[in-house]
């Protein structure tokens, strides 16, 4: 599906209009522009919400209302801007290459444009599907080294953010609406003034950036405004990783794992397949080492040491529960074992003593495995571990010869990146509070919400005279700011990003900005006195990437290069940086350990809290996105909430049950009242809290959802807090909280959409918080569902799945349909590769216009997701279970139980074996869903897309026009992305060729980083899916019922070390 349009650009030589509509426009472009402006009053430079949406001729502004962009209005806008780019002498910012209607651009046929999006600290190269200029779906760019053609949850959901109806749409001065022009003028004046004063008493707070243009402009600002204070900070970042690298190598090198080469992976408090930077690439590499085709294949082994169950922990072959502060002790013990028993030279680091009691067997076995797999192993240390621990991890990797094999180092995009962002922020806040800052420019984020609570950032902010805040939403910080400027979404603004491995990508806008907005680049450029034209800024960066080479080349050639870069989405990849001189640093690393105070043992009176970026909302930037709010947490399966996760044993000791409200208190922090969630796999006496929830002001869907845990987060207890006390709240306290919730509107935020309301009371009858999960039962009840085996057993019996889930051996009652002619679509899902990251779930939701229904509806069991990821716990120990993950969507049974029970023939088999839904025919008896053994059918109990006219105008725009938007009373389910199948069939027929394997990729398959989902034609013996269907691991889910599903699963093989079992 990654057909990218081949488009052409007009030559743009400076000073001359490159394309023109009439002679006078060529001769007098200014006049032509005027005329065009008169003709298209609503367009040029005028905010979109004033665009007439009903009639083209009616130039009077639409009545006040939020984001009234009708379909016509939108089309008019995009169309007119494309035309204007031609006839008026607009600067040629080729937003979409419709300067000239390209021959192939047929309305109704989607096109794909390459861009780049920052997600979880990594730049992901994307291809975004556009329908007549309206971006609708995100896909990975296969040419990009960080996305590898896949995408993650956040980038899939980004398309909704673009159309977020609660995006900030207007500039505001001191809380009142202002014009963009006023802001521009004011800011320009301020910039001149500041430049004159060399930036005295100015501070800029921005997140760490991977964007070369941003960094170039920042350096310019630094040069022009030398006295300005520049602080890079964001609530979730990897500054400790930078610090670790700096400690180990004296340079801010960026570790990037090549897990495909690893035989043994040891993840120490590191969610390298889930939350951490580069998880997409890591997932691909990890899965490559586990996709067994036969028992002769080799398999990697993953050891995970972590405090709370993570995506990586779920995939582990061996998992050790250890508090975050004790992980250091584990790594020290490994280092000591390696150096003493296996002769690995770690210098002074080998002499360190672990202050924590680690199971001896674990240390012995892990160290032995690492030593046996020199150069083929990797030790990964998580970004919240102290720098010394990260440095120790680097040292172990280096000593084992893993560096440049399984772990590579790349130059950091930001060479001047600070290694202690938190200290910088603390310094800034102090200065702010002392009145040392007159002007504060905050680029993005909501620091009033996310800054550590002991800094009292919000209070300090009131001491700053002039605060300018650029953000996508009008949030708590914007409220305190003098000027608020709406920030453009990355899909509507020029920019660029460098991936961790150095690949440079241009962030190509996919649409004209929906609302008047600014980007950080524009503001920095204005400050530096540059012309704030993002296109020119990015282009200048592009040219400066290799000035010596490009200077010699002709303009034409440079243009070609630029166009090629836009089209391909990736320019160049940096070479890995060779490391030198680590042995010299070993004593320094060891010295860092000496100063560390021994941690107090974790226990009932010394609970440890760890903070982690939420698996869905990350740091809360997209907290108004119902797709993210409703996608279940990969581990807890919670929706619309976060929780304090504790282990079952701790819950028992402390007398807590799920949903109990507790107060967590720590020295120097604000006490936190939060609901307890009993989570198997959590280390005892540790509590995991996730960031990103509980934002007070983010929009109609996300405001006040979940618990804001930032109060407990201080500069001292930033990643982990020890010495936390827990008090169970009594019924009286809860009544008070309930009142507070009610006054906040937390209980139920009534939204126009009937479905998206919370339960009316956040507490149940027992005064327990009503957590809502999509899956409440975690046991497989001994049934052959997500079938697994160990590598050892698999080698003995590679047909194990056939024994557990045999195909039925009964004579058919009727003749089977012959599917041997034409196509026979099928799918294979490799349980060994699936990590449960949820990217496929949201990809499916985005592709198929699946609504989010709200907490209350999910509580009633009415979630609509066509694809769900089932998570089962295995094993005897409820505190430390193994996990089985299984994505389940419609399996397209050849003998589908749903089909023969439908009284109106609304669900029928296609000749290619798809179990199709005819929405128009469905009357909603729901019999099919009752009779579906997989329970994959979803019923529109209510009008989840809203009654007519209720859904905000912009929110409708993310809909895929190729997929029906279902009304209430209709059944729906996965259809193998039938619209993609049909589209490809049409294209290939037009091209006069046969469909090749891989031409059709379903949305879930496309998004999957670990390539766990494979779709294709089973009648093509060479197709990947046919091959997978023939593997010994292949089985049909619930085969014994005789449904003959087209989706087969490949049984999961675990690779436990026999010595550690």
């Amino acid at each position: 599906m990654s057909r990218r349009t081949d488009y052409t650009f007009e030559e743009n030589t400076a000073g001359a209009p490159s394309v023109w509509r009439s002679l006078e426009s060529k001769q007098d472009p200014q006049a032509a522009a005027e005329r065009a402006k008169a003709e298209f009053k609503a367009t040029a430079g005028i905010p979109l919400q004033h665009a007439p949406s009903a009639s083209r001729d009616d130039a009077t502004p639409a009545p006040e209302g939020e984001g009234k962009v009708g379909r016509r209005g939108f089309m008019l806008f995009t169309g007119a801007s494309a035309v204007l780019a031609g006839c008026a002498r607009r600067p040629l910012e080729k937003v979409l290459p419709y300067t000239k209607q390209p021959e192939h651009a047929v309305p109704g046929i989607s096109s794909y444009y390459a861009t780049v999006y920052e997600s979880r600290g990594e730049a992901l190269g994307l291809l975004v599907e556009s329908h007549e200029g309206r971006p609708t779906k995100v896909e990975g760019n296969p040419d990009h080294p960080a996305s590898l053609g896949a995408s993650d949850l956040a980038s899939q959901a980004a398309i909704w953010d673009l159309y977020d109806p609660d995006r900030s749409q207007k500039f505001a001065k001191s809380g009142t609406e202002a014009d963009a022009a006023d802001f521009d003028a004011a800011f320009k004046e301020l910039a001149e003034d500041l430049r004159a004063r060399k930036g005295a008493k100015l501070a800029i707070l921005a997140p760490a950036s991977q964007s070369p243009t941003f960094l170039r402009l920042r350096d310019l600002v630094k040069a022009k405004l030398p006295e300005a204070k520049l602080v890079s900070w964001s609530s979730v970042d990897d500054s400790l990783t930078r610090a670790g690298a700096k400690l180990a190598f004296e340079q801010a090198a960026q570790p990037v794992y090549a897990l495909e080469r690893a035989k043994v992976i040891v993840a120490v408090d590191s969610d390298l397949l889930g939350d951490d930077v580069g998880s997409l690439k890591n997932s691909r590499g990890f899965a490559q080492g586990r996709k067994l085709r036969s028992k002769a294949d080799v398999m990697n082994r993953l050891y995970v040491v972590e405090p709370s169950l993570s995506v990586t922990g779920m995939a582990a072959d061996h998992r050790l529960r250890l508090a975050a502060s004790e992980c250091e002790g584990f790594l020290v013990a490994i280092a000591s074992e390696l150096s003493k028993k296996h002769g690995v030279d770690l210098g002074a680091l080998g002499q360190l003593k672990s202050g924590v009691k680690i199971p001896e067997k674990w240390v012995q076995v892990v160290a032995k495995e690492l030593a046996q797999n020199k150069g083929k192993s990797v030790v990964s240390v998580g970004p919240r571990q102290p720098a010394r621990v990260q440095a120790l991890g680097h040292a172990i990797n280096w000593a084992l010869g893993n560096a440049e094999q399984t772990i590579q180092f790349y130059p950091a995009a930001d060479k001047d990146a600070t290694v202690d962002a938190l200290a910088d922020l603390a310094g800034l806040t102090k200065e702010m509070a002392a009145g040392g800052i007159d002007h504060l420019l905050i680029l993005g984020q909501d620091p009033v919400y996310s800054a550590p609570s002991d800094l009292a950032f919000g209070e300090a902010l009131t001491k700053v005279k002039h605060v300018i805040h650029l953000s996508r939403g009008f949030n708590q910080t914007s409220r305190a700011a003098e000027w608020h400027a709406p920030e453009a979404h990355p899909f509507e603004a020029w920019g660029d990003l460098r991936s961790r491995s150095g690949a440079y990508s241009i962030q190509q806008p996919l649409t004209a900005p929906l609302f008047p907005s600014k980007t950080a680049l524009e503001l920095l450029a204005t400050l530096a006195g540059e012309e704030p034209k993002p296109y020119d800024l990015v282009r200048a960066t592009f040219s400066s990437l290799n000035p010596a080479a490009t200077a010699a080349l002709s303009t034409t050639f440079r243009d070609k290069q630029w166009k090629l870069a836009l089209k391909k989405g990736v320019v160049s990849e940096a070479a890995p940086r060779a490391l030198a001189g680590l042995p010299a640093k070993l004593p320094a690393i060891a010295a860092a350990f000496e100063g560390a105070a021994p941690a107090k043992p974790i226990g009932q009176d010394n609970l440890e809290v760890t903070f982690v970026a939420d698996a869905r909302l990350f740091d809360g930037q997209s907290a108004n996105n119902p797709w993210l709010l409703e996608v279940p947490d990969p581990i807890t399966k919670l929706v619309w909430d976060n929780a304090a996760c504790i282990s079952p044993a701790t819950a028992k000791t402390l007398g807590l049950v799920q949903g109990d409200m507790v107060r967590l208190a720590a020295e120097g922090a604000k006490p936190l009242e939060i609901g307890v969630f009993v989570q198997p796999g959590q280390a005892d006496f540790t509590i995991q809290l996730t960031l990103g929830w509980g934002r007070q002001q983010v929009g109609r869907y996300g405001s006040k959802k979940g618990f804001d845990v930032h109060g407990l987060r201080t500069t001292k207890g930033y990643h982990t807090v020890s010495g936390v006390t827990l008090t169970k709240l009594a019924a009286g306290d809860i009544a008070a909280i309930a009142d507070r919730f009610a006054s906040l509107g937390k209980a139920s935020e009534p939204t126009p959409i009937l479905g998206r309301t919370g339960p009316s009371d956040p507490f149940d009858l027992d005064k327990r918080y009503r957590f809502v999960q999509t899956q409440e039962h975690g046991s497989m009840e001994g049934r052959p569902i997500a079938i697994d085996s160990t590598y050892e057993d698999y080698k003995k019996n590679d047909k194990f799945v056939q024994f557990k889930s045999p195909d039925p051996k009964v004579l058919p009652l009727w003749n089977k349909v012959d599917y041997s002619k034409g196509h026979k679509w099928g799918m294979a899902i490799d349980l060994n590769a699936c990590l449960g990251c949820n990217a496929c779930v949201v990809a499916c939701q985005s592709e198929n216009n699946v609504p989010s229904v709200g907490k209350g509806q999910v509580e009633m069991g009415r979630e609509m997701s066509w694809l769900r990821i089932d998570r089962y716990y295995l094993g005897e120990d409820e505190n430390n279970p193994q996990v089985a993950i299984q994505p389940v969507a419609c399996v397209h049974c050849e003998e589908a139980p749903c089909e023969n029970v439908c009284p109106v023939n609304a669900t029928e088999h296609s000749p290619e074996g798809l179990n199709d839904m005819a929405y128009n025919r469905c009357i909603g008896t729901r019999y099919c869903a009752n009779n579906c053994p997989y329970k994959v059918r979803r019923f529109n109990f209510l009008n989840y897309h809203g009654e007519d006219g209720v859904l905000p105008e912009t929110e409708k725009m993310h809909m895929n026009p190729n997929v029906t938007v279902r009304m209430r009373g209709v059944m729906e389910k996965c259809n193998y992305c039938v619209q993609r199948i049909q589209e490809t069939k049409i294209h290939t027929r037009n091209d006069g060729r046969a469909i090749k394997d891989g031409d059709i990729r379903t949305a879930c398959q496309q998004a999957c980083a670990s390539e766990a989902i494979v779709f294709g034609d089973l009648n093509d013996p060479t197709s990947e899916v046919s091959k997978l269907h023939k593997l010994d691991r292949a089985y049909r889910l619930l085969a014994e019922i005789g449904t003959w599903p087209r989706t087969t699963y490949l049984g999961k093989i675990r690779n436990p070390n026999p010595e550690l079992v």
Partner: protein, 479 residues
């Protein structure tokens, strides 16, 4: 020559009509109800029932405007109270046809006192039943897709679907029951016409309804023949309707539904609940209108015996289902019966069902209790409750925890669920009270035929000779 051709007195049985009521006594008693002013109790009942019926209309309207989400149905319990109520009402609707048709064919003369009554109940119960499959579909405005109407798209309903069979079975049942009821009513309506003031509206309405009945010999002959044919036609329907309803479940793949015992089990259950409902209603009406001499203790006792029999059949079916689930060794089946029903979160419903349906009718083993009106009233109510729970147990406990534990759920009704159900009770009673008020609630003509004086030439030999002479094995109808 069989016993049932003998007049009751010769068999030494108790007379069916007590207190020496003769032809005119019966007419006075039955027709009088429609002619006299309605008693106060009727008005109270009517207003109450009407209020509930209005509730039903409101609930149904709300449901149609809002969507099925107004109910508590969810995934995996896609069917809940809607289909429970449907099956419950259809079940109740069984007694009528059984009493009027099957017992007629078996010459159970005691049926005459209760058949009109129970047939009316059948019709109203089926109307209530039909409400649920109608409003429970997500898009009720397209429900005509279930009918085989030729259309430009060339799409027919899916004849493989048990739901479609349902449509045919229930609508056939409804049509035949209504016809049967109406045919039976003709002589009685004529009686009402004849008793009306000449020229009154009443006379015109009843006159139109009785289709020109003049009580001629030819009329009686045709009437009896038609009635017999309709009885013969309805009899298989008694078995088929609930068998087809049970196919909704039995043909599926869901453990707890996928059971071959369902058709007979459902029919037994339907008769069980139908008789219980007839009993409940009759006891009230009998007391209110003083029909003790027509609906005698003998009638009640006979019905109690049927309740005992069908209750035990149902109990056997419960035991057998459980045994087969255990004996099959199928873990999913076992799970449904052992955990979902007996011990799981919905087990309360299962135990209510067992206590109400299996244990409570056992009191009828004792003659004293069988003839005790308060006891039978309480038991009939309990059985009605139990049978509602039976359907709920079958539907909800099979659905809420099926094959994949990941999709397990639970069911909680909403207020709309509850009031929709109560509303159909209102609909039922409204119709029923109107029936009592305007239609002879006891088949006068038929009851009269069971009087000793209705058989003036009851000579066994005469009948034999008569039959032999005409080559007709059937006895001549009563004249």
């Amino acid at each position: 020559m069989s016993d049932h051709d003998l007049p009751i007195l010769e068999l030494g049985e108790e007379p069916l009509i007590l207190d020496g009521l003769g032809y005119s006594g019966i007419t006075e008693m039955v027709a009088g109800v429609t002619e006299n002013k309605a008693p106060k109790g009727w008005w109270i009942g009517f207003l109450l029932a009407g209020a509930f019926m209005t509730t039903f209309l409101g609930m149904a309207g709300y449901l149609i405007v809002t969507g099925i989400g107004a109910w508590g149905n969810n995934s995996p319990v896609f069917w809940a109270w809607d289909i429970t109520n449907f099956v419950w009402w259809v079940g109740i609707g069984h007694a009528g046809t059984l009493i009027s048709a099957v017992l007629f064919l078996f010459r159970q003369k005691w049926r005459t006192a209760i058949n009109r009554f129970s047939e009316a109940m059948t019709i109203f119960a089926v109307i209530c039943a039909l409400m649920f499959p109608t409003i429970h579909v997500g898009r009720v405005w397209y429900i005509y897709y279930t009918l085989p109407i030729p259309n430009s798209m060339g799409i027919w309903p899916n004849f493989k679907s048990p739901l479609l069979w349902d449509v045919f079975a229930v609508s056939t049942y409804f049509t035949v029951s209504t016809l049967f009821w109406f045919v039976g009513l003709i002589p009685d309506l004529a009686t009402l016409r004849d008793r009306s003031v000449p020229g009154s509206i009443r006379q015109k309405v009843y006159g139109a309804l009785c289709l020109g009945w003049r009580s001629s010999n030819r009329h009686w002959q045709n009437y009896e023949r038609a009635y017999l044919l309709l009885a013969a036609f309805s009899t298989p329907l008694v078995l088929s309707v609930h068998s087809v309803v049970s196919f909704d479940f039995a043909t599926s793949v869901m453990p707890g539904w996928h059971t071959t015992i369902f058709p007979p089990y459902f029919v037994a259950g339907a008769i069980f609940s139908g008789f219980a409902m007839v009993m409940t209603l009759m006891l009230i009406t009998r007391a209110v209108y003083g029909l003790k001499s027509v609906v005698t203790m003998k009638h009640l006792e006979l019905m109690n015996k049927i309740i005992l029999l069908t209750g035990s059949l149902v109990g056997y079916a419960y035991a057998m289902e459980f045994f087969i689930a255990y004996y099959s060794g199928n873990e999913y089946e076992r799970h449904v019966f052992l955990y979902n029903r007996m011990t799981g979160p919905l087990s309360w419903a299962y135990w209510i069902m067992i206590s109400c349906n299996v244990i409570s009718p056992q009191v009828f083993w004792f003659k004293k209790l069988r003839r005790n009106i308060p006891v039978m009233f309480v038991v009939s109510i309990i059985v009605n409750i139990g049978m509602w729970f039976e359907r709920f147990v079958i539907i909800a406990t099979s659905l809420f925890r099926d094959f994949l534990p990941s999709s397990w759920g639970y069911f909680r009704p909403t207020l709309t669920d509850i009031f929709t159900y109560l509303g159909t009770l209102g609909l039922f009673f409204t119709a029923f009270l109107l029936f009592i008020r305007w239609v002879p609630m006891i088949a006068m003509a038929e009851v009269k035929a069971t009087l000793p004086e209705a058989d003036p030439h009851h000579h066994p030999k005469h009948d034999d000779a008569h039959a032999a002479a005409h080559g007709d094995p059937e006895p001549a109808p009563a004249e």
